[in-house]
């Protein structure tokens, strides 16, 4: 990666930060996260703080998936901008990764801005900072995978809304697979459960258990899907 990659990232992050919509979405996510902490995670009974944190992280993961779906609309090259972007002396990898990285930075920023919520659980309850760290790592990894899928769908489709719907569909399918798994027999049961980014793979990290297999799943899948996105993007030149 080089200066041009940096320029793409700066330009795209700037595009998020310079529009009121970017901030509105960020505020909305923060608000929803706070509401789900108060309304769902804390519950009506006095739940132990580690449980509250776990439920909060679960809901925050789903919100991050939804945020990734929203950001997918920005991942697609605008019909008007596409010819110029493609005429620039940039590789397909730089273009796809640049936009992905910018979206990831924005998503990461919003996610980290919600850290004050688990910090309140930390202060008022009995959880470890490392537990919060692994939980947030899982949220960021889920976000990265969601954005990678979004990049792929954006490269495959022609309209932002279609890309977002397709991303939502893929993520919903993966998550629902976790429940479908209960009706199947091995090895499909394990396979379907392990493919669900939040329900399946996020469990250990949300509980404060760093699991190499889970982290590897997120990183490998994100890389794989991004490679598909680059392939699909490149094939647009050739199609």
């Amino acid at each position: 990666m080089n200066a041009r990659f940096g320029a793409i990232v700066r330009r795209e992050v700037g595009a998020y930060a310079r529009t009121p919509m970017g901030w509105l979405v960020a505020a909305l996510v923060l608000s929803l996260d706070a509401l789900q902490l108060n309304g769902v995670a804390m519950g009506s009974e006095r739940r132990p703080s580690s449980w509250v944190l776990e439920i909060f992280l679960l809901n925050a993961s789903f919100l991050t998936e939804a945020l990734a779906v929203l950001l997918t609309m920005r991942l697609q090259l605008d019909e008007r901008e596409a010819p110029l972007w493609r005429s620039l002396p940039l590789g397909d990898v730089e273009l796809v990764l640049g936009r992905f990285t910018a979206a990831m930075l924005w998503l990461g920023g919003i996610t980290l801005a919600t850290l004050y919520l688990p910090a309140l659980i930390f202060v008022n309850g009995h959880v470890s900072l490392a537990h919060i760290a692994t939980g947030y790592a899982s949220i960021l990894l889920v976000g990265a995978l969601g954005l990678a899928i979004g990049s792929w769908m954006a490269a495959l489709t022609r309209r932002p809304l279609t890309a977002a719907l397709a991303t939502a569909g893929v993520l919903a399918m993966l998550e629902l697979g976790y429940y479908v798994a209960t009706t199947t027999s091995p090895p499909w049961r394990g396979l379907l459960r392990d493919l669900a980014p939040v329900w399946g793979r996020g469990q250990n990290l949300r509980r404060g258990i760093f699991s190499l297999a889970d982290v590897a799943y997120y990183l490998v899948c994100t890389t794989l899907v991004l490679s598909f996105a680059v392939r699909a993007f490149a094939s647009r030149r050739r199609s």
């Binding site: 970017g22 706070a34 760093f210």
Partner: protein
Amino acid sequence: MIPRSHEAQQRMAAGISVAAVAVAALATYGLQAPTLARFAGWTVGVSAGAAWLAWWKARRPDRPTTATMPALQLVVVAGLLAHAASTDAGLDLLGVAPGHWLDRTLGFVAAAVLVVGSLGLVAAARAWYSIAHSPEAPLERVRYAGLRGGAAGLNLVAACALVAAAGLRDVKIDVSLLKVTEPSETTARLVADLPDDLDIRLFYPSRQDVYERVRPYFDRLADLNPRVHVERLEHALSPELTRQHRVPSDGYVLLSLDEDRAEQVEVGLDLAIARSRLRTLDGRVLEALSRLTQRTREVHLTTGHGERGQGGAEAASEERIDTFVRTLRRSHVAVRSLGLGRGLGSEIAPAVPLVVILGPRHAFSEEECSAVERYVASGGRVFAAFDEEMSPVGCLPAALGVGLVPGVLASERNHVSRSHDAADRVRILAKAASDHPVVAPLRRQRSAVLFDRANELRPLEAAVGATRRLVFPLRTEADTWHDLNGDLERGPDEAAAAATVLAVGTERTSGRRDGRIVVVGDGSIASDGSLTTRANFELVGASLQWLLEGHGNDRVIVGVTTSEEDRPVEHSPEGERLFFWATSFGGPLPLLLIGLWRSRRRRRARTLRKAGRSDTAAETAAETAAETAAETAAETAAETAAETAAETAAETAAVSGDVVSDSREEE
């Protein structure tokens, strides 16, 4: 083999496709075929079907053919052959023993080749389909699409291999406070020293939520001792075992040394219910293991002097000793009471393994003191914790060979803050000052014990002699003073010096074992409030272990278990409201304001610019119109002059500016 006519090719492809799908369906629903066989059947069926569809769509006699799709079909067939070779029958045929490296390699290669070939075939078929009606369309696209699909398949295989490799390595590190996956040091010590085989059977369906949580814990135990074996069983599939050990259902863990000696730990299947059980898993496993491996011992708690543990469930945590009792029970140590009626006032039976005196508030009688003294002299063991709350102090310290120095110990610097006022000065820290087994864990961990309103202990010279040895292995910092007047301020007559708050003594006897005593100058040392501090727990655990050792032939393991209690998120009703509003809207508000501010700034700048430019725009428009008119007129005049008729001038001018089409080109 491959028919030359296009129609015949179609028929053949259709036949292969239908046959493959039929075989796959039969394998899935009719036969108990292995999963991979079903997968292979469906793969071939779907890819052959896709290829046939493309052929069917492209059915034209003048259609040139491409070698890409037959080549990719050959790849799929190669994958199928590799798969066939990896089956039991195939391995038999090849003379390869199951489990041989070739067996595993063939399985992997088959799956990889099938994925690569199928994806390539489907991609090529799609490209073929898209140019079905254009005989002139270049066929490189089909080849390119096939290669692209194959490459994507290769990526997928590599990714699966990486994830599978990480799964096999299965490194898990529990960083939560409520470590379910980590056995405590106490349990680990017990398991590591096990001389016999221990089978741990987890009765759970596979991939079950609770099972996923508890399995790593037992795997850790298995890592500690090769004699420990862990396996998962389903209740319904192990009727004999469950009947023999009366395992009621899934959700239980069975720990067994042999057919007769087994213990169960209930964890449950419902995660919401199991959650609380998981928090105490380590303690309950330790309890079960202790029951399995150690015989029952007894500890006798003295009563009748306002000791800790008498206040009931509503008492403050400094009064309750639930953790202490639970810890003993987990080590298979029963707790009994020892009052006047059971010999405390006359003769404590030498068979009593340990007498525990926890923070009495009333003095012991002379008879009781002499009973304790005789008991130690005859090889008895005593754990005593008291301070000057015991009023009057009476004869008990002297009976144990120590003197209780008046004045609560206080320190201005080396204390633990809680209320952030002078009252904190009596919450002092003490560190290990010797290698005695009672303080060995503290020394190893370099941790300090927290004492609350403790008194210094000093040896009574008269009590130390040829048979009795007394050490003081725990000391406070040098700035500790005795707060004699209770004002929590250090007065001129209150000298500072390191104080000893723990006395450990041995009494050599003529009997089978020596008498042992541990005296702590803090009556609340074994209370629930005190034992939340890990070092305090270590001290009490190590003391009990040292005191119980040598009673019988086996070791006793008493110590901290991984059962840290969680607590709910706490705040008052007012705080709750504040918490809600602050978190729900206080956090997002700054972001919203930044967005609004930026938006307003942009809008205002645009409005200002538009207003500023409107005058210029009007001028420019006028100028432009004038110039354009002049230019057009000049052009028109020139062109008209070249022609003959006056009327054609206007038409020429119109044509010269004609626009073929204003619409944007859309391709």
